[in-house]
């Protein structure tokens, strides 16, 4: 993997301007490299989704980015100052360079438009020169890419299962061949088996198409399995950032250790995810509580 950056965030702070103001993201700096999977882990409300929305400038009042810089390094060598983009430029930037897959697999698709129309929307807006035929061909190709029968193109969202809807969303996110894909808990609403299928699909596609992924989840073991690097967030700050292996084997921050401990292993003993280092807390837990 090349160490060439594709997205750099420096000192990003995001506040919710309510009374009293909430600092949801505090001075976060992140570098996403071309083609890598960067995991963003943390508990609910730690600011990981807010950060992701901020990277794509999707924040809505009362949320506001109070400081920081986000720079996108385009394939052709251009640097794009994302924070400085507005209006038409911002609109053209979205999805074309950075696409997103959202948390709610069930509600990300417009219920009254067919999948075909919603895919067409992307092409018509960003690739106005594409012909009807080309759009259709590309749409079918995308569906095949994510493992859905291309004949499903004319379906409406309510005719699809949750897993299929999320695959459709991934197909849509791939439509313009973006360089970065932000996935905000893409598998949360799905059961484990479907979840596994979709994660595999994402891994396969990433290898084939080479986009970088920011993968947001609270599921740290999952991240350890799939990501190159992992950032752990706590109360709006990144408390630990390292390779998946590092985090797995020698997590330094207490919170990271706690997160790893909170998942039971297959054999039922808590804290099994930490292999090295003395874990007084973990051993205390295993002796005092029943296996889950």
């Amino acid at each position: 993997m090349s160490a060439e950056p594709v997205l750099t965030a420096t000192d990003v702070s995001i506040e919710y301007l309510v009374d009293p103001p909430v600092e949801a993201v505090k001075n976060v700096s992140l570098t996403l490299h071309r083609g890598e999977i960067l995991g963003l882990a943390g508990e609910s409300g730690c600011g990981k989704s807010t950060l992701a929305y901020g990277l794509n400038r999707l924040l809505k009042p009362p949320a506001m980015m109070s400081s920081g810089e986000v720079v996108f390094h385009d394939r052709d060598g251009h640097d794009i100052d994302v924070v400085g983009l507005d209006g038409e430029h911002l609109r053209a930037f979205r999805w074309d360079k950075v696409s997103m897959v959202f948390q709610g697999a069930m509600n990300s698709l417009n219920p009254v438009l067919s999948v075909k129309e919603q895919l067409d929307d992307v092409f018509r807006t960003h690739r106005p020169k594409m012909r009807r035929r080309e759009r259709l061909e590309r749409s079918r190709e995308l569906l095949e890419l994510v493992g859905v029968d291309p004949d499903r193109l004319t379906s409406f969202p309510h005719e699809l299962s949750g897993g299929m809807r999320q695959r459709m969303m991934i197909a849509m996110a791939l439509a313009l061949d973006p360089q970065v894909m932000i996935m905000d808990e893409p598998t949360t609403a799905l059961d484990v088996v479907v979840q596994r299928g979709i994660i595999r699909e994402i891994m396969r596609l990433r290898e084939r198409l080479g986009f970088a992924v920011i993968f947001i989840t609270h599921d740290l073991p999952l991240l350890i399995e799939i990501s190159d690097r992992i950032a752990v967030m706590l109360r709006g700050e990144i408390v630990e950032l390292g390779t998946a292996d590092d985090i797995y084997r020698n997590a330094r921050h207490d919170y990271t250790k706690k997160l790893l401990e909170s998942f039971p292993s297959l054999r039922g003993d808590r804290g099994d995810f930490i292999r090295t280092g003395a874990m007084p807390v973990a051993s205390a837990l295993t002796t005092s509580t029943e296996a889950v």
């Binding site: 999707l58 696409s99 990300s108 417009n110 009254v112 929307d121 807006t125 969303m169």
Partner: protein, 331 residues
């Protein structure tokens, strides 16, 4: 196809039930409508034996004919388009009275209902889209207009624009002095009718636009917080496209269902409006019928209203599937 067959059957059964009820109601009423009617007509002048027989047939009292036979006779006459003779405008057939009043109401009330709906939905969508800005102040303004009693609003408008400013005529559907022989298919008559219709139309629109606007605005705000709107934004779609295809369309669905019901009641007319403006529509006809105990006319008007309500609902039932794909296929 099975879906449509099923719907049509349901509507036919409903139609049969309402027509039967229409037949039954005057017969269940206390007092004897037929006697009242005949007495009234006799006061106006000589009444022929056949008319008396006719009235008894329609209202089914004072005779020894069993109910079942009366019912069959009622259907027979109905299918021949015979709704009886009006007492108010004796001896004009009810069918003729309704046929004369119906176009006035359909065009005026129908058109202003559609205008109010389109305006309400359009402005509502826009206000919802720009929520939190100054345009939110439009909402209380229009709801105040709606909460003002309609006749009061209409009278104020008549007083200001018709009586004082003399911009519009005070009453009527057309100038009865300029066209003494009644409606005629000329351009002069048409423009006169439009001129007479403007003020009533404005009052209807003013008093009903608020409801549509308020409902649409709130649906719009709710829809805009849906996940698919954020997705559409992240997709980099143009704001106009999001407003039209993603937000407004979804937000308008409940209003469209409400609209179908309102549309059905267009024929019932706006009784108060037609009374204030002395407009020659179905509402005024019904008012007269009730005032004069004109049962045949009442029955006729009720029948027409029932049929249009059913027809409007049936039409919307069919159209709804096109607007909301989730409503398709399921019966």
């Amino acid at each position: 196809m099975k879906f449509y067959a099923r719907r049509i059957t349901i509507y036919l059964v409903t139609l049969w039930a309402t027509i039967s009820l229409n037949f039954l109601l005057p017969r269940l009423m206390p007092g004897d409508p037929a006697e009242i009617l005949i007495a009234k007509m006799q006061r106006a002048g000589e009444v022929s034996e056949t008319t008396i027989r006719n009235i008894r047939l329609i209202l089914g009292s004072g005779s020894d004919v069993p109910l079942w036979e009366q019912y069959l006779g009622y259907w027979g006459r109905l299918l021949h388009g015979d709704l009886g003779i009006s007492v108010t405008k004796y001896p004009t057939p009810v069918t003729e009275l309704i046929a004369n009043a119906l176009p006035w109401t359909l065009v005026l009330v129908g058109l202003s209902t559609v205008i109010a709906f389109v305006l309400g939905i359009g402005i509502g969508a826009w206000v919802g889209w720009r929520r939190g800005t100054w345009v939110d102040h439009l909402v209380p303004g229009t709801t105040v207009l709606q909460s003002i009693p309609y006749f009061w609003l209409a009278l104020i408008l008549v007083a200001v624009f018709a009586v004082n400013l003399r911009w519009f005529p005070i009453f009527g559907g057309y100038d009865v002095f300029a066209f003494p022989s009644g409606p005629e298919p000329t351009l002069a008559f048409l423009s006169d009718a439009i001129y007479h219709g403007i003020l009533p139309a404005i009052t209807i629109v003013l008093s009903s636009v608020g409801g549509w606007l308020f409902g649409m605005r709130n649906m719009m705000v709710a829809t805009l917080s849906e996940d698919y709107i954020i997705t559409a934004e992240a997709k980099g779609l143009r704001p106009g496209r999001i407003l039209r295809a993603y937000a407004s369309r979804n937000a308008a669905i409940p209003s469209i269902a409400g609209f179908s019901i309102t549309l059905g009641f267009v024929v019932a007319g706006s009784i108060v409006m037609e009374q204030v403006f002395t407009y020659p529509g179905v509402g005024k006809l019904m008012f007269q019928a009730v005032q004069n105990n004109d049962y045949a006319l009442m029955q006729g008007v009720f029948l027409v209203i029932t049929i249009t309500v059913l027809a409007a609902n049936f039409l919307m039932d069919l159209v709804y599937g096109f607007i909301d794909p989730r409503a398709r296929h399921n019966a």
